[in-house]
Subunit: 299 residues, 4 copies
Amino acid sequence: MKLSIIGLGRMGYNMAIRLLEDGHEVFVYNRTSEKSETLKEYGAKVIYDLKTIKNVLSTPRVVWSMLPAGDITEKNIEILSEILDEEDIIIDGANTNYKDDIKRFNTLKNKGINYIDAGVSGGVWGLKEGYCTMVGGDEKIFEYIEPIIKSLAPNNGYMYCGSTGAGHYVKMIHNGIEYGLMEAYAEGFELLKASKYGENLNLSDISKMWNNGSVIRSWLLELLEIAFKDDSSLKDIQGYVEDSGEARWTVNEAIDNGVSVPIISASLFKRFQSRQKDVFSDKVVAALRNQFGGHALYK
Amino acid sequence: MKLSIIGLGRMGYNMAIRLLEDGHEVFVYNRTSEKSETLKEYGAKVIYDLKTIKNVLSTPRVVWSMLPAGDITEKNIEILSEILDEEDIIIDGANTNYKDDIKRFNTLKNKGINYIDAGVSGGVWGLKEGYCTMVGGDEKIFEYIEPIIKSLAPNNGYMYCGSTGAGHYVKMIHNGIEYGLMEAYAEGFELLKASKYGENLNLSDISKMWNNGSVIRSWLLELLEIAFKDDSSLKDIQGYVEDSGEARWTVNEAIDNGVSVPIISASLFKRFQSRQKDVFSDKVVAALRNQFGGHALYK
Amino acid sequence: MKLSIIGLGRMGYNMAIRLLEDGHEVFVYNRTSEKSETLKEYGAKVIYDLKTIKNVLSTPRVVWSMLPAGDITEKNIEILSEILDEEDIIIDGANTNYKDDIKRFNTLKNKGINYIDAGVSGGVWGLKEGYCTMVGGDEKIFEYIEPIIKSLAPNNGYMYCGSTGAGHYVKMIHNGIEYGLMEAYAEGFELLKASKYGENLNLSDISKMWNNGSVIRSWLLELLEIAFKDDSSLKDIQGYVEDSGEARWTVNEAIDNGVSVPIISASLFKRFQSRQKDVFSDKVVAALRNQFGGHALYK
Amino acid sequence: MKLSIIGLGRMGYNMAIRLLEDGHEVFVYNRTSEKSETLKEYGAKVIYDLKTIKNVLSTPRVVWSMLPAGDITEKNIEILSEILDEEDIIIDGANTNYKDDIKRFNTLKNKGINYIDAGVSGGVWGLKEGYCTMVGGDEKIFEYIEPIIKSLAPNNGYMYCGSTGAGHYVKMIHNGIEYGLMEAYAEGFELLKASKYGENLNLSDISKMWNNGSVIRSWLLELLEIAFKDDSSLKDIQGYVEDSGEARWTVNEAIDNGVSVPIISASLFKRFQSRQKDVFSDKVVAALRNQFGGHALYK
C-alpha cells in the first residue's frame, strides 16, 4: 500500500527498504535529504516538504513516524495533525511511553485522525530478519494497516496487543526483560572470566557452544559470540552503558502496580552506576567505616 | 566406542539412547533394572552387577556416571574406583561442584584412574536436540572420549573447557545465568499480566510473537510459548520453585572472587522465598511499623 | 502563637497536645468532633465549621493541615484557600509528594496565600519525644511559624530544608532510608532465627544487647526490643507489610536522577511481595523448569 | 581478674586500657613491643615471650587473643595450646568464622583446654563507650570469665549467645546488618545530593536533625554527622570500600539456610564493585547493545 515514513534513522531507513522490497509505495521524509536520496535506488519517492503528504498519499493516508521518542516525535505529530484529514492514520513506531500514546490518541481523535502505536524490535538486524512489531490502537485501523506490519515483521512476528498504548506497553516490557537478560549473561561471563579457569577460556567459543543445545541459547547469546570474537577481553570497550527509557518506565510501572521487579531494577541501576566515575554512596560508606572502625580512607 | 552408563534417570536414559543410535556399544546399569530392560530394544546391553564392567568393557574402560550429584555420585565413584584398573576412565556427568571434582581427580589419580567432569545441559529435550556438553580434565583423555561427547552433543555443542573442574564450573555458570534469564522473563510477564492491558493478552501468543524477530527471542521463550499454551494464567501451577545447587555455588563463587552478581543472587533468593509460607523478615517489618507508627497488624 | 490544626488522626491529635502544652493557642478541627472534644481538657479550642477559622485566628492566619496525603489533603487545601485571605499561611504536614507541593504553592501564590510543606517524623512516639520536622517553602514564612515547629520538635530536631517541596523531599528520602534500615534488621533476624543457634536465642535480648555499645544500635532496634519482648517468634503477626508511598517516590526519583538504589528498591519490592499470596513470576519459573527439565510441578 | 591480651591493634590496645581501668591485672603481648610499653602507664604488665604466660597467670589461665582473624589467629592459638595446661581458657575476640570456632573448640578440648568465642563490636569508640560483646562456648566457662566481659561492655551490652561459635555467629549477623544499614543511609544521601534540592543542603545538618526525633536516628547516623562535618561533598574521599569477611559469610550462611537476603547481598556486591575500575559485565552489556542496536561504544 501507499504510506509515508518520517524519519530515516537506523531503524526508519531499513524499514523503508524492507517495505519497498515487499512492494509498498513509500514516500520518505527526513530532516536532511541525503538519506532520502539514497533510498531512491530502492524505489522510494522522496518528500521534501511534509505538506506534500496530503497530495501524494491516497485516503485514508498512512503516515509512519519513526523519529526519536519524546519532544521530537510529539512535535512531528502535532505538525502532521494539522496537515492530515479526518480518517487519516498516524503510526508512531518510536519507543514512546504508553501514557503519551493515550494522550495523543485522545487529542487526535478530536480531529478525527486515527492513531496507532507500534513497538518495533529488531535493531540493526531488522532489515534482514524482520522487525518484531507490537501494535496498539483501534483494531479496525490495525487491520487496515496490517499489510505494512506484515511486510515489516518476520512470519508470526507481529501482534495486535489491544487498545491504544498496548503496543508500546508490550514493547516496554520487552525491553525491560531485555535489560535483565543482558545483565544475566554479563554477570555469568564476568564471573567466568574472574575464575581460576577464566584465563584460558575463549568467551566467544563458550557462547557458541552454549548456543548449540544448551538451555540458555538465545539470539542475544549469538550476538555475544560475535561481540567476543575479536577480543574476548573486550579491553577496548569502556563499560559505559546508556539506557533509553523503557526500563525506567518498566520499573515505574511495576511500582504503580505493586509488582516486584528485582532483576529488571538491578539491571537498570547497574547501568546508572556504569556511568558514574565517583559514586557518592560509596564515599559515604567509606567515610562511615573510617568513623567507627578507623578503617583507612583512600584519597 | 564401548562404554557403560551408570544411572538411567531422565538424563541418563535418553543419553544412552542417543549414544546407541549413533552406533556406540552401551552397557547400562541402574539401581532397579526395569529401565535397563526397556533400553534393550535400542540395542543396550544390560549390566546387573557393577563388577561385570571389568569384563565387558575394553581397556581403557570408559564409565559414565549419571547419578544425582552429591553423596550418591560420590559413593558410586568410590565403588567404581575399586573395580576399575589403571588407565580406565570415569566421567561424571552430574551437576557436581567443581571443588569435589578436584578432590576426586586427585584421589583417583593415586590409583592411576582417569577422571573427567562433564557438565551436561539440555534437559528432557536433549534426546532430540542433543546435549550441550562442557568437559574438564586431562586434555588427552578428553580427546580419547571425544567420540562419545560428539554423539551426545549437537553440532558445535561441546567444548573442552580446561583442567579438572572446568567442565562443571562452566556448567555452573551456565545454570547461574539460566536462573537470571528465567527470572527476567518471569518479571516481565508478571508485570504484563498485572497491567491494564494484561487481561486481554494471551501470553503464549506474546511469547510466540517475541520469538519471531525480537531481541529477546530464545529457547527458554519458546518453552514459555508451550507452557502458556493451555492456560496463560497458570492457575493450576503453584509458584513453588526448587533450586538444585548450581546457583548457590555461583553466588558463593562470586563472593569468593569479589564479583558482584545482583541478578543471579536475586533470582536465587526469589526461589528461596517462593517456598516460604511465612516470611519472618516480613513479620519483623510489620511488627516494627506497628511499634513506631501504630500501623495495623494482620493477625 | 495562634494556629488551627485540621485533622486529628494519630499524628495530628498528639501534635495538638504538644503545641498546647508548650503554650500555643490551638483551634482544632476534625471531620467527626469526638476527638476534638477530648482535646478540650488540654486547652484546645474546637472549631465545628472551617469557615470559623477566619474569625478566630489573627492575621496572618496559620493553618496546619494534618490529613492523609492525596485527594483528602488536596480538597481540604482548596477549601481553605477559599476561606483564607492574602498573607495567610497553610502548612501541609502530610506525607505529600513534593511535586504536588510545587503545584499547590503556585496555585496558592496566585491568591496571595503562603504555603509551607512540612515533613513530620516520629510516629506514635512523637508526643513524648518530639517530632523531627523538615520544612520547605519561603524562608521568611518559615521564620514566622518557627515557634510552632520548635514546640513540635525535640532540640535540634527541625530544619529549614529549602524552597517549596524541600521539606517533603527530605522526609521522602528519610522514609526511603527507613525502609532499607528495617529490611536490613529484618534479614539479619530472619537468618539468626533460621540458623543452628536460633532456637535458643531470645531476639529481644539480642536487640537489647546490640543497643548497648554495638555499631548497629538505633531507635528502630530499641523498638525491636519491645516488639520481640512478648514473643520473639512473632507467631501471631502476619508478614503482611503495607507501604505508604514515600519509598515508591524515592525509587521513582532515583530513576529520574539516574541514581542507583538497590537497597531501597529491594526493600519496597519485598513489601509488595509480602502482600501477594500467589506470585505469578514464581509460577512462570516453575512452569519453565518443568518444560525444560521435567521438574515436578506443585499444584 | 588476671588475664593476658595477645595483640594490641586498634581494638586490643583499647580493650586492655578499659580492663586495666576497671581493676583487672592485664599482661599484654604484642609482636612489636612498642605498644606494650605505652600501656605500662595504664598499669599493664608486659610479656615479651609468650611462654611467660604460664608463670605469670594463675590457673585456670585466661588468655584473650585479639589478633586479625584467619591464619594469624589460628597459628597463635596453636602456639598457646602448647604452652597452656588443662582447664586454661583461650578467648578469641577476632572476627573468626564460627565454623573455625567449632573446629578449634574440638581440637582444644582434646587437650583439655577451654575455648570461648567472643564477637566484639564498638570499633574505635569502644574505649569510651564500651564494647558490645557476644559470647559463645561452654556456659560455665563464660560465667567464669564474665567479670572481664562485664568490664569491657557497657551496661547490658554483652550476652552469652549459646554453644561454641554462637558468639561469632551473632557478631557475623550484626556485621551483615551493619552493611545493610550503611548502604541504606548512603543511598538516601546520594539521592538527596543528586536532587534539585541537594546543592543547598548541608548533609551534616540533615543528619543532626534526623538524629533528633526521627525514626531513622541511630549511632551510625551520629557518626555521619561527624563525617559530613568538614565537607559534606566528601570530595577528598575515594569511594573505595573494603569488606572484612563477615558479610560474605552472612550471605553464604543465608544460602546454606535458604534464607533470602537481598539487602545484605546488595550491600556486599556494592562494595565489590566500588573497588573495580573496569567492570567486565558493563563492557559485555555495552558490546551487546552495540551488536543489536548499533549503539555507540565508548572506547
